[in-house]
């Protein structure tokens, strides 16, 4: 997107075309999210249940990928320990932009039940990688996963591609 970023003004005057293009691009990214197949703990079982027939995560256009290179977002489903933390950092770095992170469950949100005495538990995955959506629950219901996914899609749809500065209100 490097080339397009240089268009400084367009959105206001005559930006309809670019606006529509942006919408299209955002639509593509939000509707086709491949996720990194990555189960850590209890939430991973609910994650599997969500992939199963009753909840069918694929309705949202998500496809499991086993390689981080091809994934669009990573779901941290479970307790992140210190032994694991370095790996998660590496995995996140291996993913190609644009990439998103969903933190699922109390454990990855803030250490969850282990926040107080868990000497080996990282207290929140957002200490090592930026998180886009937090899904609470221990473990969350499969529907809650899907709601988090819809929240992420909303977020992607609001992203600015062509006119970042204006959207962010910097100018």
């Amino acid at each position: 997107m490097g080339l397009l970023n240089r268009l400084d003004d367009p959105y206001e005057g005559g930006g309809i075309v670019l606006g529509k293009v942006e919408e299209l691009l955002n639509w593509g990214r939000s509707k086709s999210d491949w996720y990194l197949h990555f189960g850590l703990a209890c939430c991973a079982i609910e994650f599997m249940a969500m992939n199963a027939s009753h909840f069918d995560f694929m309705r949202f256009g998500t496809i499991p990928r086993t390689s981080p290179r091809q994934a669009d977002f990573i779901m941290i489903t479970g307790t992140v320990t210190f032994k694991m933390a370095d790996r998660i950092k590496v995995l996140y770095e291996q993913m190609a932009e644009p990439k998103y992170v969903i933190s699922v469950g109390s454990c990855s949100n803030s250490g969850g039940p282990y926040w107080e005495h868990g000497y080996h538990v990282l207290k929140g995955v957002d200490r090592i990688i930026p998180v886009d959506v937090y899904i609470p629950g221990c473990p969350p219901r499969p529907e809650a996963f899907e709601e988090g996914m819809m929240k992420l899609q909303e977020k992607i749809n609001q992203q600015a591609i062509f006119n970042k500065r204006k959207r962010l209100g910097i100018e």
Binding site: A44, I45, E46, A52, S53
Partner: protein
């Protein structure tokens, strides 16, 4: 640092054509965050070094600062696939220490929920085992069925996965109207899907080729490694705590102990281990049917114990037959409402330790299947 050095590979000793492959902790089929360091000679596995601890959540440290009641949610999070079964031995240990007699209805309810959870666990085990072999569809069939079991357990306890349903001396909630009918309809579904999966997966020639004669675990090795559950029974040892050391009311039910018979392949291979789980689902169905029939529908299930349980100075090791094997809790009470020490003996932890022994000499693809056939859950391995 010296420890690390000892473990790290001594590359100079390797032959030039051997390759060290790191499987996990992020790997689609290590059933969680297990890391295996595999040395392969071409495709043949010559050495496996498991590295654990990627899900070490300091369970035992937590227990020392929790009251006895508060520990139960943490036990759920140990073996999160069969939480009901894991809660049971812990609660039994406390009941033994406090000398509490549990009402009849509670015993039956415990048996039913534990067996339902056993079915759910075996469904996941067989499903993921099939997934390791590349068959995706049975996986979803089983998860579809598991959902019905989960719904029953949710209606009972309020949670889908981590139930926190057992209490010392009782249960958290009574059964609901229509519980019996729900259970019976689930049993019917389980049997139907099992029959379907038998055709679709278990007796598929490709699946047999993949799993029979692979990862053979002989009985004496299994006992020496203290394997338990379907891993031990797959090797032909008919040892089931529900029968050999009957706890609760298991002596009242008529059920068989399925063992690996070598119908296909050799006794103790992956296929037979898996087959034991298939048969155990059927046996669980039978136990549930009998329990539903005998269960008294009246009566209270709430515990008649003080809110703050104080356990006298005593030590009890209580074990029970979990879907994955023998789970034991060694509880050391010190007279207060918090345990002095609580050690959990995870079935997966012990069963997993046999991996380096039985995976040598098989192919790399077999290693994944051997791991799948042992049915580990990392929450219990690492605690």
């Amino acid at each position: 640092m010296s420890e690390k050095k000892r473990l790290d590979l001594e590359y100079s000793q390797l032959d030039s054509d051997r390759m060290r492959i790191n499987v996990g902790p992020q790997h689609p089929s290590t059933h969680g965050v297990l890391r295996l360091e595999v040395e392969v000679d071409g495709e043949i596995v010559t050495e496996v070094v498991p590295h654990l601890g990627y899900l070490h959540r300091s369970f035992e440290k937590h227990c020392e600062s929790m009251t006895y009641q508060q520990i139960i949610p943490y036990i759920d999070r140990m073996d999160y696939i069969s939480a009901m079964n894991s809660e049971w031995p812990y609660v039994m240990a406390l009941e033994k220490m406090l000398d509490i007699k549990v009402p009849e209805k509670v015993e039956y309810l415990r048996v039913i929920v534990a067996e339902l959870n056993r079915i759910a666990n075996h469904q996941i085990a067989v499903a993921t085992f099939g997934l390791d072999a590349g068959a995706f569809t049975p996986f979803l069939f089983y998860f579809r069925d598991r959902e019905f079991i989960i719904w029953i357990l949710e209606k009972l306890s309020g949670a889908r996965l981590l139930y926190n349903y057992f209490r010392v001396g009782g249960m958290a909630a009574d059964i609901y109207n229509g519980f019996r009918e729900d259970c019976l309809s689930v049993i019917e579904k389980v049997r139907k899907t099992n029959a379907e999966v038998m055709d679709l997966l278990i007796y598929n020639r490709i699946f047999i080729q993949r799993t029979a004669n692979v990862g053979i675990l002989t009985p004496d090795v299994a006992i020496n490694y203290a394997c338990s559950g379907p891993v031990l029974r797959g090797s032909g040892v008919a040892y089931d705590l529900r029968r050999n050391e009957p706890y609760s009311i298991y002596d009242r039910f008529d059920f068989d102990i399925p063992v690996g018979k070598g119908e296909v392949g050799v006794v103790g291979d992956c296929w037979n281990r898996n087959m034991v789980r298939m048969h155990e689902m059927e046996q669980s169905c039978r136990i549930i049917e009998q329990a539903l029939e005998q269960m008294p529908m009246e009566g209270d299930v709430k515990a008649n114990v003080p809110r703050r349980i104080k356990v006298p100075k005593s030590e009890v090791y209580m074990r029970a037959e979990n879907p994955k094997g023998e789970v034991g809790f060694y509880v050391v009470g010190n007279g207060t409402d918090k345990p002095e020490r609580l050690k959990a003996r995870g079935a997966s932890f012990v069963n997993l330790s046999v991996i380096p022994e039985i995976s040598k000499g098989y192919m790399f693809a077999d290693l994944i299947l051997i791991l799948g056939s042992i049915d580990i859950v990392l929450g219990e391995v690492d605690r």
